[in-house]
């Protein structure tokens, strides 16, 4: 009888330990899973934001390529929705005598936290032409 009781007690202890291991294991798994999901979401959003911020600068460069005089000082704010997520892009152009500074800021909310990235680039009125390649070389210089 005593031996049986001892065995029963040991089995119960082992079961309790098994449940404890299961609970701790499950909690760790849940924690790791949620962490991985949040990190993946953050990475995807930030990648998108990097492209949007760069696009803001490229848009301004395209305007400059049409003529430096077309660049206007000021701030343009756009809300861009990508896959149900809102990104706010703010492109600020400030001009000086021989260059314009373009600052592109993209903000978004990731896991209830405000995130943002910011790039700055200078554009100058060098207004050259870009040789696109092909067989014909650019024109010879005129002395």
């Amino acid at each position: 009888m005593n031996e049986e009781n001892k065995q029963g007690g040991a089995m119960l202890l082992e079961l309790i330990l098994a449940i404890a291991v299961f609970v701790i294991g499950s909690a760790s798994i849940a924690h790791l899973y949620i962490g991985a999901q949040l990190s993946s979401l953050y990475s995807a959003d930030k990648t998108q934001a990097i492209f949007l911020a760069k696009e803001g600068i490229e848009k301004t460069r395209t305007i400059r390529n049409s003529g430096f005089e077309y660049l206007e000082e000021g701030v343009t704010v756009e809300i861009i929705n990508l896959d149900g997520k809102d990104f706010e892009r703010e492109v600020a152009v400030s001009c000086f005598p021989d260059f314009c500074s373009v600052a592109s800021l993209v903000e978004w909310v990731s896991s209830n936290r405000e995130e943002g990235i910011f790039f700055t680039e200078h554009l100058t009125p060098w207004t050259g032409s870009v040789y696109q390649g092909g067989e014909d070389p650019p024109e010879e210089p005129v002395e």
Partner: protein, 142 residues
């Protein structure tokens, strides 16, 4: 025989749960570290884009200087926001110039090489504008 199985029931449950938990924890830890690594890669991409913007800005300044003065020879730094970029010595001949710029921020370095071909001053003709891992010497190309 039946008694033996009964005795080991708890042990089998404990061992199974431990092995299963270990397996899943390892699996999800792997997933977690892959996600963290991806996050670091994206942060690094941000640094690279910033460095490239700096190098591009310096190339813009160098082109403008070259447009204003044919004899512009580079060798200067420019402040872009909180960072700085460098315009290295301008290589080349009267017919061709090579502008080399470097943008550096947060441990990221980007190099831009702009090749300007024959120009009808002040109109510059850009033959090539690219990011390079290392600058090529104009003398070697000749």
């Amino acid at each position: 025989m039946i008694n033996f199985k009964k005795k080991d029931k708890g042990f089998i449950a404990l061992t199974s749960v431990t092995i299963m938990s270990g397996f899943f924890v390892l699996l999800f830890a792997g997933m977690f570290f892959v996600a963290v690594e991806e996050m670091e890669r994206v942060d690094s991409r941000e640094g690279s884009v910033k460095a490239l913007s700096l190098a591009n800005s310096c190339a813009e300044h160098a082109l403008e200087k070259l447009r204003q003065h044919v004899a512009y020879n580079g060798n200067e730094s420019k402040d872009i926001g909180d960072d700085t970029c460098q315009i290295l010595a301008v290589d080349g001949t009267e017919q061709m110039r090579i502008i080399k710029t470097v943008g550096e921020t947060g441990g990221h370095t980007k190099k831009i090489q702009v090749e300007i071909g024959a120009w009808n001053h002040p109109l510059l003709v850009v033959l090539d504008w690219r990011e390079v891992s290392d600058f090529t010497s104009f003398a070697l190309e000749e």
